[in-house]
Amino acid sequence: MSSNVTPTSTPVKTTGLHVGDAGPGCRKVDPILIADNVRRTFGGLTAVDVEHVEVPRGAITALIGPNGAGKTTLFNLLTGFDKPDSGKWEFDGRSLAHVPAYRVARMGLIRTFQLTKSLALLTVLDNMKLGAKGQIGENLFRSFLPFLWRKQDDEIEAKALEILARFKLDTKKDDYAASLSGGQRKLLEMARALMSDPTLVMLDEPMAGVNPALTQSLLDHVLDLKSKGMTVLFVEHDMHMVRHIADWVIVMAEGKIVAEGDPHLVMQDPAVIDAYLGAHHDADIGTTDTEHVEVLKELIDDEQ
């Protein structure tokens, strides 16, 4: 789908992120997020079993892997939406174990969701204003004294309008979020995440269900986050997007990190091909999973 999109500009890649050889769980020069032995099981299924992973600061990191690899579960664990069975993980030097989701968000780690969670019956502007941190008027006892929070609210509104203008949603500000298209909702969710000035933005499939015309604009916004000094970690299935904007790629399969590295090199890693196609993908077993073959063909075509 998005293979038809020609990039408007070649993004500047950040390099030299890791220490030593690139490989699963390799150390980074300046990690912002570190997870150790994070395990989450659902009954007999081990959804996530990450020995060690570090996310580099100030770069765009892609988390890829086949369906069911545990990417979203890892997201939920890291952001406090789910609790792991064991393990420790820290953000910016502060432990995140047993920290509830709203506190994780206040620390500056903001996430979006695979299925967009725009607040349907709030206006676009209210959606945005909800994203701001430390609002005086969000305390019940101060809320019915508008003179206490009016000034701050005006500042928040100005900031919201400025970000909306950047995302070209400013004309929609008084519409209910429910009236936006799927792609616009993705934009709104990303814009809303920026209201709190996060240090790490975690995007769960930002491109899923977005039409090609909007894809380019979304890509530019993700790159823009990096240029504004934020760290981005995103889950994505679209390999072209990953190669286009990611500085670093982490590959998950069956709950484990199987490969890490530069986006162009990591896709040639046999572990990645195994992850997508199975270790015996070249053995003739009569039927083939066409979707995965297509992904592989795309990868090979692209490398040539």
């Binding site: 903001i110 969670k117 709030l122 909800l130 019940l140 809320s143 009236s179």
Partner: protein, 327 residues
């Protein structure tokens, strides 16, 4: 011959009756719970019962002054909200619905049981708690008003206090719902995980909402008992459903909706009951006895509410735009 003047004047009295005010307060509380926060509280009758019993018992058994009795009622409903909320607000909305409906019934049965008859008066309830409230009345004794709205000083005093409370709490609700606090609350109604991801303590906000709406119900419960006595049978689950009917009639996420909804509900109820009773007397409905006629009014009110919900699902004051999108 039917005495239409009498039917209409009885119905008109409901316009400003303290019962209408009490239901308006309870419905306003439910608007905070259900309309704005999305909490399915089916125990509003329990909050009202706590107001009624908290007030009456404080005065009768402990000799508290009026303000002390009001505080006891409010305190009891805060504790009740905490007991309901702590285990259930972390779970999905339907769990709260089940727990609240059961808790309200437990309260009612506790007030009904003979074991505590000394304090609660068991099934016959409580009376004789009105002295303190009547003493506060600044209106000199006598009869005031015109036409159907002629009442003695005490009756006017209840109406003034009841409707002032409705006006004040409606204003407070309006103020907080247009504040950033209200924005978070409405966000939680739409998607609480999204609000959590933006750094808001959703659990705490839901608890605040449950307590606040519950206190509205409790104050409604106190106004409710001032013109009558405290009878446990008044606090059945059907009370909660009448309050829900009022809320949906007026519009769930509105301020004026619950108030006007309550007025319409009680005027209609009074009109139908007066009309049906007299129609049976006059022999217009030969297939029906007086006892059956008493029940028919609820059927007619039910039909009226069904018609409104079918043809105006957002309620009288609700925003049609909010229904244009199916969630």
């Amino acid at each position: 011959m039917i005495d239409w003047i009498q039917i209409f004047s009885n119905a008109a009295q409901e316009l400003i009756s303290p019962t209408t005010a009490a239901y308006a307060l309870a419905a306003l509380g439910l608007a905070i719970h259900f309309g704005y926060t999305g909490l399915l509280n089916f125990g509003q009758a329990g909050f009202m019962a706590l107001g009624a019993y908290g007030y009456a018992i404080s005065i009768l058994s402990f000799g508290f002054p009026v303000w002390g009795a009001v505080l006891v009622g409010i305190g009891a409903s805060v504790v009740f909200a905490l007991i309901l909320g702590i285990p259930t607000l972390r779970l999905r909305a339907d769990y709260l619905a089940i727990v609240t409906i059961a808790a309200a019934e437990i309260l009612r049965l506790t007030f009904t049981t003979n074991t505590f008859a000394d304090i609660t008066g068991s099934a016959s309830g409580l009376q004789g708690y009105k002295g303190g409230f009547a003493d506060l009345n600044p209106i000199p004794t006598g009869s005031y008003g015109f036409g159907p709205f002629t009442y003695n000083a005490y009756d006017w005093w209840i109406r003034i206090v009841g409707w002032s409370l409705v006006v004040i709490l409606a204003l407070v609700t309006w103020l907080i719902m247009r504040s950033p606090w209200g924005r978070v609350i409405k966000g939680i109604r739409e998607d609480e995980d999204a609000v959590r991801a933006l750094g808001k303590n959703v659990y705490s906000y839901k608890m605040q909402s449950l307590i606040l709406g519950g206190v509205y119900g409790t104050l409604g419960g106190m106004i409710f008992i001032l013109p009558r006595s405290v009878v446990p049978a008044n606090y059945q689950t059907s009370l909660t459903f009448f309050v829900y009917a009022i809320l949906l009639l007026g519009g769930a996420a509105t301020i004026l909706g619950p108030v006007i909804g309550s007025v319409i509900f009680w005027v209609l109820l009074s009109f139908f009951s007066g009309f049906v009773a007299r129609a049976v007397e006059a022999g217009w409905l030969p297939f029906m006895s007086q006892v059956q006629a008493g029940q028919l009014r609820f059927i007619l009110v039910g039909i009226a509410i069904m018609l409104i919900v079918i043809f105006r699902p957002q309620g009288i004051f609700g925003n049609k735009k909010e229904l244009a999108f199916v969630k």
